[in-house]
């Protein structure tokens, strides 16, 4: 495993009487993507602002790329890139001017920042629009330019605060591809998101935070496994077959199935997943029970998120790693 590029220890931050962060710990390894997942107001942006030297923590310690975010803030700023929630690019400048100025402010020499601005424009599909004012850009182009600007100095650690909020699915996909390329080239990325799909696609590690505390962490698979694992579901074509099908599944799985007559659905826990599915399929065929659907369903990260943050789903958060 790579070296730790982001280390956060017991970081707290309060604004007035509001506790934005109540003692957060996390570690991100080099060349990996860590996703901070949480609802609005969970403290994601506050943590990003602390790690990018925009805010000082009230207590605790945080190091990024080997630099303390308070004591070594000036040195750290050379090593990080930040693309915030709003595309922080200048509307009255061209795309190229925006990139070149950010390069200058990273203290690159002129020849170097001009070359890198050109690289970014090419890479992000903005070459044709590069010499147009940003106010003529679409939302997706602005976001790409913003992320491109954060890459001008080739930072070791990149912070992306909700990088795809408000983008259409296609542009979102493009941004994800860019991030994947960066990571495969060795950049460490911390991204905040409310989108499970984004966390699932990009993140090696997911840290779920709510009201300023870490409430769960792990890979997407680990988080989903905690929600009770997979179930095998069979939907019969003819309601008259429901009883027979239930008996059959009871034999296959050696458990009592759950029956949902309205949806003509029978389900059993399916820890063994595929093996159970094959066995059940064979038996249904032998018994000539017609099915509309047969499959193993795993809980989505959405289910996990809703369960953890109490976001209206019935399932209570029942994970041992509670708020500390």
């Amino acid at each position: 495993m790579g070296a730790a590029m982001i280390e956060v220890e017991a970081v707290t931050k309060r604004f007035g009487s509001t506790i934005a962060l109540g003692g957060v710990d996390l570690v991100a390894e080099e060349g990996r993507v860590l996703a901070l997942l949480g609802p609005n107001g969970a403290g994601k942006t506050t943590l990003v602002r602390i790690l990018t030297t925009l805010l000082r923590p009230d207590s605790g310690r945080a190091r990024v790329a080997g630099c303390d975010v308070v004591a070594d803030a000036a040195a750290l700023r050379h090593l990080i890139g930040l693309a915030g929630q709003y595309a922080a690019v200048d509307e009255l400048l061209t795309g190229r001017e925006n990139l070149e100025l950010v390069g200058l402010w990273y203290h690159l020499e002129k020849r170097e920042y001009r070359r890198r601005a050109q690289d970014v424009l090419e890479r992000f599909g903005l070459l044709d629009a590069g010499d147009r004012l940003v106010k003529t850009y679409s939302g997706g182009m602005r976001r790409r330019l913003d992320i491109g600007a954060s890459l001008i100095a080739r930072p070791a650690v990149l912070f992306l605060d909700e990088p795809t909020t408000g983008l259409d699915p296609r542009t979102r996909n493009d941004v994800w591809s860019f991030i994947e390329e960066l990571v495969s080239a060795g950049t460490t990325v911390l991204l905040t998101t409310q989108l499970m799909e984004e966390a699932e696609r990009l993140a090696h590690q997911i840290v779920v935070i709510d009201t300023g505390s870490v409430i769960a962490r792990g890979t997407a698979e680990q988080l989903k496994a905690r929600l009770g694992g997979a179930t095998l579901e069979a939907r019969v074509s003819d309601p008259a077959d429901l009883e027979r099908a239930a008996t059959l599944l009871a034999q296959v799985g050696d458990v009592r199935p759950r029956i949902d007559p309205d949806r003509q659905l029978i389900s059993i826990p399916a820890a063994e997943g595929t093996a159970l599915l094959v066995a059940a399929g064979r038996r249904f065929e032998e018994e000539h029970i017609a099915l509309d659907d047969l499959g193993v369903r795993r809980p989505s990260l959405d289910d996990v998120f809703l369960a953890l943050t109490g976001g209206g789903s019935g399932a209570p958060p029942e994970f041992p790693e509670g708020a500390e």
Binding site: G2, A3, M5, E30, G31, R49, T52, T53, L54, L55, A65, G66, C67, D72, A74, A75, L76, R77, H78, L79, I80, L82, G84, Q85, Y86, A87, A88, V89, D90, L92, L93, E97, L101, V102, L104, W105, Y106, H107, R116, D119, V120, R123, L133, A149, L151, A153, R154, P155, A156, V157, E181, L182, A185, G186, T187, T188
Partner: protein, 271 residues
């Protein structure tokens, strides 16, 4: 384009920001703001409209009713309006900074290794060029409504320079207002207050001798009055030294105090 970070160890933290870096950073910010000024010419036109209306108001509407000792009212009031034009233009510093805070651009700036003073210094320098432009427009309009220079070229240039020096110092007060209010609308309203007080409780429009005695002390010695007195003397060709030094001292004081306050606000800002 992202070989950084490849291979075990994080890169070595680079050295401290040098004076050259700080100068380049500031020039970069000034360039950004100058490009913005050039690309919104409508702002320059509308910005010139306000002082132009003041000029017409005091020259033609109110001017006829105001008597000044030993000279024509147009020569009395127009130098004050030159200075007011520059101060009104300076309000764009506070509005622009507040807008940058709101848009998230300042967040990006603060996450970059650029010199801390560069964002503010670059902006005030760019706004100084805007002041120069609006001053030029006002001189043209002033001549059009009957204002005349009575001094030599050197003295006139010194007078204009004094206006710009005072305007530059004042832009740091506007910078502090922009950073403190963090909102363009609030910044605009807050920025009018010091301008309003200094302009009306001064020798800009009427001689201080016509005011109640409790007001005269303030009205005679406040920075705007002192600067207007110096500029009038320089453009008239009279003895100006006393006022010029007082004006420069005020400018230096305003600059130092509000530079320090603005930098502190910028460092601690959390928009």
């Amino acid at each position: 384009m992202t070989e950084a970070g490849v291979g075990g160890r994080p890169p070595r933290p680079p050295g401290r920001t040098t004076v050259r870096d700080a100068a380049r950073d500031t020039a970069g910010v000034a360039k950004r703001n100058l490009l913005r000024i050039v690309r919104t010419p409508q702002l320059i036109v509308i910005g010139a409209l306000q002082p132009a209306m003041l000029l017409v108001l005091f020259r033609y509407v109110l001017g006829g009713a105001i008597r000044v000792p030993g000279g024509s009212y147009v020569d009395y009031v127009v130098p004050a309006i030159f200075l007011e034009a520059v101060l009104i233009g300076g309000m764009t510093t506070s509005i622009g900074l507040a807008a940058d805070l709101k848009s998230g651009i300042i967040d990006r700036f603060r996450s970059l290794p650029m010199a801390r003073s560069a964002v503010l210094a670059g902006r005030t320098i760019a706004d100084l060029s805007r002041s120069l432009l609006s001053l030029a427009i006002m001189v043209g309009l002033g001549l059009l409504v009957g204002f005349r220079f009575h001094a030599g070229v050197g003295s006139i240039i010194a007078g204009m320079a004094l206006i710009l020096v005072f305007g530059y110092a004042f832009s740091w007060l506007y910078a502090a207002i922009g950073l403190a209010t963090k909102d363009p609308e609030t910044a605009q309203i807050a920025g009018i207050l010091p301008f309003f007080v200094l302009m009306f409780a001064s020798n800009a429009i009427v001689p201080v001798a016509t005011m109640p005695s409790w007001l005269q002390g303030f009205a005679r010695n406040q920075p705007l009055s002192v600067t207007i007195a110096a500029v009038r003397a320089l453009l008239e060709g009279g003895p100006a030294g006393h006022w010029v030094w007082q004006s420069l001292a005020w400018s230096a004081g305003i600059l130092i105090v509000f530079f320090a306050i603005s930098l502190r606000l910028y460092r601690n800002t959390a928009a």
